[in-house]
Every structure is written in structure tokens, then in C-alpha cells.
Symmetry: none
Subunit: 348 residues, 2 copies
DNA sequence: TTCCGCCGGGACATTTATAGTCCCAATGGC
DNA sequence: GCCATTGGGACTATAAATGTCCCGGCGGAA
């Protein structure tokens, strides 16, 4: 790997060009089939400059171009996989990941390039990367619990289809949390199960429940059976959200929102709201996975990107155990920045 | 390493630049201190284009430029070593080496870029590479036998000086063989010993001897002692020459030369002349290392470059065991070409 | 000491590569 | 059958790379 360090002293522009071409290829892969102009827009580069790259990629047999757009060839896909680690080193993401592991106390951190806060198409990369991470942890007859949210929805859309169907069960981690249908845990569970070739369990529970109703419901045998299945999940994949954004999206009443604000809520995950130190501020009233169940689930994967989610990710990392975090440069850099300045204030 | 294979598909033009810049740095290293214009002439590229490279190398702190010329810095030397293998892959020499190992039945083949037949300065690279190979096999109190010839002379001139003197003994493999003094085995042995910080034994024997005189001489205790030392050498480094060129250079009489021609002599090594199949055609009448001694010497290193020596190298490889061969692309490609066409004729 | 050759570096015209901007025929989804 | 989007071609403006000189200086040989 460090041979690249030396090479880039002889050809300094190598690193840049290699990374940018890789990025082009990677984006084609994630959005195929896609046209030249749309892609240029996506990458934020001029059409002409992209064209030069595209012509080269075509020449090298890494992509095919047709009337419907471009798509990567098998050898292109191989190249993407093989160079993944190299690019990670070259653009400094490897270093960023190491620092994040340290700061957040998360054993595994995967950072994808870009900032989904500024560039929507980055969420696709996050979803794909998270999908690959999930696939690594998969095993026979395992249960995967998923939450809702746009990150998880994207994951279910773009996760690479395994060569042969997996004997997995996908369950929603909690009941419906008042979002758009395509972002609901139930929807995502079914889509993910379809992509993996496994089965899924639905979990139809009304959104906002009073405490007593929730308890009554939880006693129902059918519900109870699913809930127990959920709590015994082998892997849980969840999104991490900004507290207030999520509160508004779920149309919480004004009083609750102002209470959250007052108590300094910054993060949301599994329907729990946390302050900056990871303390629970509020819990949504729906049944399913509880925070204390996390401790017994072998693999907890968190997915969240965008500079705006930096604080939320830090809070979540303090609130409960996360085994693997998939995020983007925007969030990663922002987290480190916040950490550095907080360290400065603490020390000073 | 194979990550470079993939990278070079994404940035082919930079791979080329990497190789050419490496070559520039390498040549500065081998000829330092050297000026811009001389170097351009040496590399066969225009002065201006070299200048761009030189400016970059200077910027990167890989070379220093002074009024006497350019020389590589320590970090430049490190880079040369670290990237040696990478460049070997990228410019296809690694593949060439593998094929040559196969075709010649030589366990280790080192190929340097260029063709010393067309470009004299390549002999310097060969010498340096051979020097590095020799250094690898060196051990305490070992005896190195060397032959004469321009390749060996260059080796003795440019072999990297070990950080601390080596307790080696350098001996000439055979007596004087009628060449210019700087190409004589004796001269080379002393120079090599000086570079390595070891000692050397001289071997003063007249050039052309009748059989009886040689036998008488061989009985002399002083001579005999050196000869035994030679025959017990741990490493022998030798040049391989074209038969007729060597014969003429040594001013053999016309009759012998035409006899060599008639019998199809193509190669010369250790004073032996071989035909294309490796059969001995003629032996120079001087004492020292005999071909049958080779079998008992642990390490036999052959050095020869230039397309013109292809046939000679093939013949030598068949005639006796060679453990390591140091050559250049010119010879290497030429050998493979000849092999392919001979295979074609045999099969067809 | 003097002279000659090679040294690096500056300057500038020319060529070549690169990037921006349109346009067009063709194809596929609706 | 229409419309949007596709890839590819063409042309120009601009930037970069390159060829070709020149100059003052330092070092080694005479």
C-alpha cells in the first residue's frame, strides 16, 4: 500500500486523477444505467471533462455505453472492489476512519466520500456501503432487525443481491413511527428480505399509543411472538437521526417538541431521543426493540450521513453500543472537528 | 502489487509517467553528478521535457541540483528501492523475467530496462543490478570468483558500497585472457575487493600457453594454492560473450577463429567457447576455474546484456548451471523471440 | 592563472492538449 | 407517436506542454 505513497511523489497528480476516475466509475455503478449529462450533474463536474473520463473508461473496457446510458462491465465491477481499499487510503478516508473509531469508541467505521448533506446522491453510496457491511455479518438462519428512515430505505434498495438466496428473516425493529410509507421499518424489512432472498415478518402496531394501550397490546400472543423474535435478533441495522428533525417529521405535538428542545435532545434512534451526552430524553410509545435489548444483540450496525448528523452520531455512540458505523466524510469530518474543539475547551 | 495493475487501467497515462520519471531518477542515481543536457542525451528525450521532470523531482526533494550537476537525495534513493518492484511490474519486466526463467531454466532472472546494444549507458544499470544481486548472496568470509569483460568491469565500478567492509576474498576466475587491462579478471577482482572492503588474490599467468607449459605451471605450489582457492569459490560472477567477438578481441589466430565459425560457436564464458546447443567447441589455454568446477560452486551469477547476446546467453544456459542471470530487455526480448520462432519450427 | 566546457535557469514562440458549448440523430419509455 | 434522454460529432477558446535559444557562473584541465 505504501508503494502508492512513493508513486504519488513521482506523479503527484496520480492520486487526484485516480480518485476522481474511481469516483466516476463508482457513481456509474451505483446509478446505472445513467447518461453522461445526468452523471456530470451528479458529480458536479462539467460535461466535457466527464466525457474524457468516460471515453477512457470505455476504452479500458470498464464500462459499456448504450442508448440507455452507461453501465459498468464485470471487469469494471471487479476493479471497483479491488481498488476500494487503495482509494480509501489515498483520499485519506482510512485515516479518518481510524480517528473516528478512536473518538466514538466504535470498533468499525466505514466512511464513504462526499457529504450527503450537500449532495443527495451520496446517500446511495452510504446505502451500498452499509449493505456490504451487513452482508459481511450475515449468516445462515439469522434474524436482521431494521429501523425506518431514508438511510435504511436506500440500503434496502441498493444492497448487492447475494448470488444465492439467503435464509434470513428480516423484522422491523419497532412499530410504525409515523413516517412516509417508503421510510417505514415494515416497508424496508420486506424490501430488504426480497433483495436478500429471505423472508420477513411484519409488525402492525398503531403509531402513538398511550402507555396502558401499549402494554395491553404487548400482551397479545401474536404481537408477543414477533416482539420476542425481534428482541432475539442477531443483527440490527438502524438509522441515526437528528432529534428535532425526526420529531417534526413524525409530527410530535408542539409541547413534546419544546420539551425535547429544552432538554437538549440531539439524536434519535429506535424511537428514543438522546441529549448530547447520550442520556435518554424521551421514548416514543410503540412496542418493539428496546434500548436494553441492544446489549444482547451480537451485531449493531448504525447508518447515518451528512455533516448535520455529526452531533447525533456522537450522542448515539455514547448512548449504546454500536459495532459498526457507516457514514460519510461530511459527518466524519464534522464529528472530528467538534471533538477537537470540545477537547480544546475541556483542556483549556 | 496487483492493485497497481488495476490502477493502471484507470490512469494509464500516469503509469507511463511514473515509469519514465522513475527512469530519470534512476539514471541520475547511476550517473550522478550529471547535468540536464547530458542526461537528456543519455535518456534519448528532449532537453525541455526532461527539464519538466527534473523540476518536479527537485520540488519533491528527490534530487538536489548544484553547479556540478544533479544528484539524488537520500529520500530519492529510498524511493528508487521501494518502487523497484512496482516499476518492474508496470513496464512488464516482471513478466519478461518469468518467461526467461522458464525458457532458460535459470532460477532467478533480473532484467533491467533498455538495450545495452543500442544504448551504452544501460550497461551501467546492468552492472548496478548485478551488484545488488551479488550483495544478496554475500556472506562472511566467502570467496567470490570473477571473470573479465566489460559487464564485470562495470559491476566492480558501480556496485553499492556496503555500509561496513565485508570480509570477502575476490579472486579472478581464470588467468589473463588477452584483453585490455581494465577488462582483465585480475583488475576487476582488485577493484571489486576495494569496493566491498575485502581482500583479493591476483593470478599472474601468461595468456596463451601450450598444454605442457600450462600443466607445468599448474604444478607450481603458489599457483596451485590460488587455483584451489578459486575452485573452492562460494560465488562466481561471470560475463557471457559472443564467441566470435571475444575471439577477435583476444586476437586468436585466424585458423582458430575459422574453426570456431565452422563449428558454430556462439558463446564464450570462462574462456570456453560453446555452440548454440551448449557444447564445448574450444577452450582457452589458461589455468583457473574449469567448467566442471561450476557444479560444486553454490552460486553462479551470469551477467550479459544487449540484443546481440541473446544466442550466447541461451547457449550458456544450456552449457552449465546458472543460478542467477542479470540482463537487459534487449537481450531478454531477443531470447524470447528466438525461442518462439524455434518452437514454431520444431512444432511445425 | 586562464580557458573551455558543462552547469542550471530564464525567456519566448510554437505546437499540442484540454475544456466549454452547441448540435444532431437515435433510442426507449410513456 | 411524442418527449425526454441518450451518445457522439464539431468547432472554438484557452491553457498547458514543448522546442529552441540564450546567459552568467562554476569547476577542472591546461
Amino acid at each position: 500500500m505504501h508503494a502508492f505513497q512513493f508513486s504519488s511523489r513521482l506523479v503527484p497528480e496520480l492520486t487526484e486523477k485516480l480518485c476522481s476516475r474511481y469516483r466516476v466509475l463508482q457513481r456509474i455503478f451505483l446509478h446505472q444505467p445513467i447518461g453522461r449529462r445526468s452523471l456530470a450533474l451528479l458529480l458536479g463536474i462539467s460535461e466535457r471533462i466527464l466525457r474524457a473520463d468516460v471515453e477512457l473508461l470505455k476504452e479500458q473496457g470498464l464500462i459499456d455505453v448504450g442508448p440507455v446510458g452507461m453501465h459498468v462491465t464485470d471487469s469494471g465491477a471487479t476493479l471497483i472492489k479491488e481498488l476500494d481499499d487503495v482509494i480509501r487510503y489515498l483520499d485519506g478516508r482510512h485515516e479518518l476512519e481510524a480517528k473516528l473509531r478512536d473518538v466514538l469508541g466504535i470498533a468499525r467505521v466505514v466512511v464513504v466520500p462526499g457529504d450527503s448533506h450537500k449532495d443527495d446522491s451520496v446517500t446511495r453510496d452510504i446505502g451500498y456501503a452499509a449493505g456490504r457491511v451487513l452482508l459481511e455479518y450475515l449468516h445462515e438462519h439469522c434474524t436482521i432487525a431494521v429501523t425506518g428512515g431514508s438511510s435504511l430505505a436506500m440500503l434496502a434498495d441498493v444492497i448487492p443481491r447475494p448470488v444465492q438466496p439467503q435464509s434470513v428473516v428480516v423484522v422491523p425493529a419497532r412499530g410504525g413511527l409515523g413516517e412516509r410509507v417508503e421510510l417505514l421499518a415494515n416497508t424496508i424489512a420486506s424490501r430488504l428480505a426480497e433483495r436478500l432472498g429471505g423472508t420477513y415478518r411484519m409488525f402492525h402496531v398503531p403509531e402513538s399509543l398511550s402507555k396502558s394501550t401499549a402494554e395491553t397490546l404487548a400482551m397479545e400472543p401474536l404481537i408477543q411472538e414477533v416482539v420476542e423474535h425481534i428482541r432475539a435478533a442477531d443483527i440490527v441495522v438502524h438509522g441515526i437521526g437528528e432529534a428535532l428533525t425526526m420529531a417534526r417529521r413524525r409530527k410530535l405535538d408542539a409541547m413534546t417538541i419544546s420539551e425535547l428542545q429544552a432538554k437538549g435532545a440531539v439524536a434519535e434512534a429506535f424511537g428514543y431521543y438522546f441529549d448530547a451526552d447520550g442520556h435518554i430524553i424521551h421514548v416514543m410509545g410503540t412496542v418493539g426493540l428496546r434500548l436494553e435489548d441492544i446489549a444482547h444483540i451480537p451485531v449493531v450496525i448504525g447508518v447515518a450521513g451528512g455533516a448535520g448528523k455529526a452531533q447525533a452520531i456522537r450522542a448515539a455512540a455514547q448512548a449504546y453500543r454500536i459495532d459498526a458505523l457507516v457514514t460519510d466524510e461530511g459527518a466524519g469530518n464534522s464529528i472530528l472537528q467538534a471533538y477537537e474543539s470540545s477537547k480544546f475547551h475541556t483542556e483549556g
